[in-house]
Point group: C2
Chain length 305, copies 2
């Protein structure tokens, strides 16, 4: 089944202690859509300016990412620039230029409206709701969010959460949203705001998944060398939602969500191995499956006899 992905499409400049690169394809929807495309056809919704390279549209076509929902507008594409600390664990935004994103109003092509699976990648919750309202009757809605929206548009976020099947957020966001220091308490509390399932990302420490009376915990795939952490969270969300749409499709069980979380982690582990989407552009399903299996072996309490 197809997955509709809406979010930001950006041109990034990223500085790590070792390298700096500009004009990189970035934005939550770019990462999420590409990760999802390894599992399901993707319908992309976003906005780009006249400076946005045509080559990316060609690339999307090659990956079965439908870009009919990407508006091309006079002006400059959304630009973001960030710099990472020496250990890559924290980053500072150097500049944000909204440009054509400032007046972005997502409009779904007719062919997108009956899609069953939706990923509302990280953008303002009002925009996420606006997309959801244009859809007929989505079967499973995944939403990502960030601290900015928890702090500045909490009302919009709370309204959205009533319609979300799986909310994805990181550990500090979960703590901020609930004022709980325990992530176990936080995850359970967030379910009371609406989402049936909650995934809490913990970066190098893995992720937690909460359902009704159900819980799953996994580590992160171990990596020695990380080149650019940008987009890891968006990739995780895209991998999760893509797997659910493409590989499961029907009724989603907690067991499906476990596997989806692992695929999200695997895709994110590839993402951070290179700048921008470079490592994600030409993966094979074999490489993804190999890493999934290796990850499973590393996490098994007992080995098969």
């Amino acid at each position: 089944m197809s997955l509709l992905v809406v979010g930001s499409i950006a041109l990034d400049t990223v500085k790590t202690p070792i390298e700096e690169h500009g004009d990189l394809l970035g934005g939550s929807a770019s990462y999420a859509a590409l990760a999802a495309s390894y599992f399901s056809p993707v319908q992309l919704v976003g906005v780009v300016g006249s400076d946005f390279p045509q080559s990316e549209f060609d690339f999307w076509r090659s990956r079965k990412i439908d870009s009919e929902g990407v508006q091309r507008v006079e002006g400059k594409t959304f630009r973001w620039s960030g710099e990472y600390s020496w250990d890559l664990n924290t980053r500072e935004t150097r500049s944000t230029e909204l440009n054509v994103f400032e007046n972005f109003e997502p409009r779904l092509p007719q062919s997108y409206r009956e899609t069953d699976f939706v990923l509302l990648a990280n953008i303002a919750p009002a925009l996420q709701s606006h997309v959801l309202k244009q859809m007929e009757k989505p079967r499973f809605v995944v939403a990502d969010t960030m601290n900015l929206w928890i702090e500045s548009t909490r009302g919009d976020l709370d309204a959205l959460l009533q319609h979300v099947d799986l909310l994805i957020l990181n550990d500090s966001e979960a703590r901020e949203m609930t004022k709980e220091t325990s992530l176990i308490k936080a995850g359970r509390s967030i379910r009371k705001f609406g989402p049936r399932h909650v995934a809490i990302k913990k970066g190098e420490h893995g992720a937690l998944l909460f359902g009704e009376n159900e819980f799953f915990s996994c580590g992160a795939y171990p990596l020695e060398d990380i080149h650019d952490p940008t987009g890891a969270g968006d990739t995780f969300a895209g991998g999760m939602a893509g797997y659910l749409a493409g590989a499961v499709g029907g009724k989603i069980t907690f067991t499906d969500l476990r596997k989806a979380m692992i695929y999200g982690s695997v895709l994110a582990s590839f993402c951070v191995e290179a700048f921008s989407l470079d490592r994600l552009r030409n993966l094979t399903m074999e490489q993804i499956s190999e890493r999934y299996e290796a990850f499973k072996l590393m996490s098994q309490f007992e080995m098969p006899e």
Copy 2:
């Protein structure tokens, strides 16, 4: 098989944001020995003063913890007092009185010297080495350590590590020891200092296990309410070493070490549910096994068909 445990035996005063209790049984060896006793007979080595309650010796006897190696000396027992932050994630030592521990020189009873399994719980590495030298030919040596020894007696620690099969330490200690920010790199580097296996504890985020070309990662058993984190690390080490001595006994494989790490985590999860050793005093193997199985289910990538 039996496990020799050497470490500190203390009387603690612990203050959390909610409660404060004094004259609690504490110390690395007390926690480790009790946790280990659920899996194997324990031979305890330590020192206590004339103020140490006889009732604890009676309790040890009831748990098959041999206290022949515990010296009773004129004077006061080692005392430690600490206070936890509001979220229980950090603590401050309010006072440390070494008392009879100041001149502690571990002497092994003859009956301890041929024991196959040894846990050098957290004390000065010179004392840990001193114990090891009195042993005939231990089959498997587990050592715990802490930042104090990494900072102040690194030479002694490095000498000890040549003889250690499994080193247990926490994430900040692993980073300090290696100057690596990546725990994956840190774990692999520490093996080069001598220990064949390294377990890195990450508190609420679980633990990592490194062997030669082998790796295992597990989360922490999810707990909503923690009452007193004191001794969780010592209990983890005791559970691990006790399981290896009692349930495995023969040649230790990486698969055994995985299970040992889980049992260590399970015991530690009980430990923090009450002050001091209170929760550990009367567990049943059934309760331990139930939590092990629940933990396994929570961590499985795929559910059995």
